[in-house]
Symmetry: C2
Subunit: 260 residues, 2 copies
């Protein structure tokens, strides 16, 4: 439950709605918005999170806005001289999760853009949330405060997983293909005199192989690199007749690293 | 190092500067801002982070902007079909910290507002950063992406501490004062007949005392509550002559809970 206390600009209310929905929060309460409600400008600033705005409920006082809640947090960047439990956003998210899983309703108060919550507002809260922030420049935008609370909340409930999965990683190439590539490359390098003097060859080869090992190449990677080496050899020999010339299949991932 | 790639709106560049400075990041690079640079509107939107804007360096291409860096991350909300290490913002922050402590220079690419980074931009990065976000509504505002990376970075380097300390907590009251308060309260309650029937009195007293114990009252709290009880007793007796009437000292914290 995000409770915006006396917000000033409709645009900021819209941006708060967007930040909320980014992290799966949908319940917005507005306490005495300065310019009234609904207000033009909020919808556009929400960039598609109009559902949050449409569902927002309006209250005249903080007391009314928190009446049905079981625990209330106040966000503040300033010391308020009030003895209350004091949480970073991630700690608060953990407590909120425990409480909501137990059936409690929790809300977080965010103050107006310019001044933040009044001491009386903070006095209505059970605990304070503050953000680790540069002490030289600690004033955070309203929607960004909402974002940080939402982000820590969503990190917890989603297990921190991003919604997009990394590209399916192909398995590493069979070792015989990798070793065959090594042999091929070293054979061609021997032909150029690169791997000299002879007494240093073993070390040079080991170092070179270890660079390739770090790449953890897939079957397709090995084919591609083999093609690269072949192309270089062929080009050097002045023709396309090199016996190792290969045309790697187009990758099913992207064109990066592909010689096509 | 925050690198904004082809940012569209000066206001967003300003808001990025603010988000950066909130978390101690000061080095901004701009690649081909759509409307040129410097551009009116950025300064005001930065809400005082003009130093970041003034220090921003301008590049024509991403390649030039990353040339002197040792590791580059690309932020994206979309799957790109590119095989790269894939980090949540907190994981990336941990790696960045290790790298920068080793003397490396790292940068994070953020794409234009509407479309995000191009696949070619992402291709220039060593790794991808994505945010755990509501899969139904995953489009994050540019400055908010910058904020999340900065936040996770600052959480690490600052140890997650908020810049404001919780109000100095007074030590808990000496137990003799707490017990004396209990005795006083129960004596007064006995006088009213509240703690009846007699066989339930021990349980009622224990429950009542445990409520007070949960408060972890300071010396001042105990005095205040003793004053409250005295006032109630005195009022009920119809005068100010109650033997336990006390005027608690004004608290050095705030007026919450004070009867003054």
């Amino acid at each position: 439950m995000v409770i915006l206390v006396r917000p000033q600009l409709a645009e900021n209310i819209g941006m708060c709605a967007r930040a909320m929905l980014n992290f799966g929060l949908t319940e917005m309460r507005l306490v005495a918005p300065r310019d009234g409600w609904p207000k033009k400008g909020a919808r556009q600033a929400s960039s598609g999170a109009a559902s949050v705005l449409d569902g927002a409920t309006l209250f005249e006082t903080v007391q009314e806005a928190i009446a049905d809640l079981n625990r209330v947090y106040a966000t503040t960047a300033r010391e308020r001289g009030q003895t209350k439990p004091f949480f970073a956003a991630d700690e608060a998210a953990a407590e909120m999760r425990t409480l909501t899983e137990g059936g409690s309703r929790v809300g977080v108060l965010f103050g107006p853009e310019r001044m933040g919550l009044s001491n009386d507002d903070v006095g209505l809260a059970d605990a304070v949330i503050s953000f680790p922030v540069n002490p030289e420049f600690s004033s955070i935008n309203l929607a960004q405060s909402v974002l940080l609370v939402g982000y820590e909340w969503w990190k917890l409930v989603s297990g921190g997983r991003a919604p997009i999965a990394p590209t399916r990683v192909s398995p590493p190439a069979e070792r015989r293909h990798l070793l065959s590539f090594f042999d091929y490359l070293e054979r061609e390098l021997d032909a150029t005199g690169f791997l000299t003097p002879a007494e240093k060859r073993p070390l040079m080869v080991r170092n070179l192989r270890n660079i390739w090992h770090r790449l953890a190449m897939t079957e397709q990677d090995v084919q591609t690199m083999r093609g690269v080496v072949a192309a270089l050899v062929t080009g050097r020999r002045g023709g396309r007749s090199g016996r190792e010339r290969q045309d790697p299949e187009p990758r099913d991932e992207s064109s990066e690293g592909s010689p096509d």
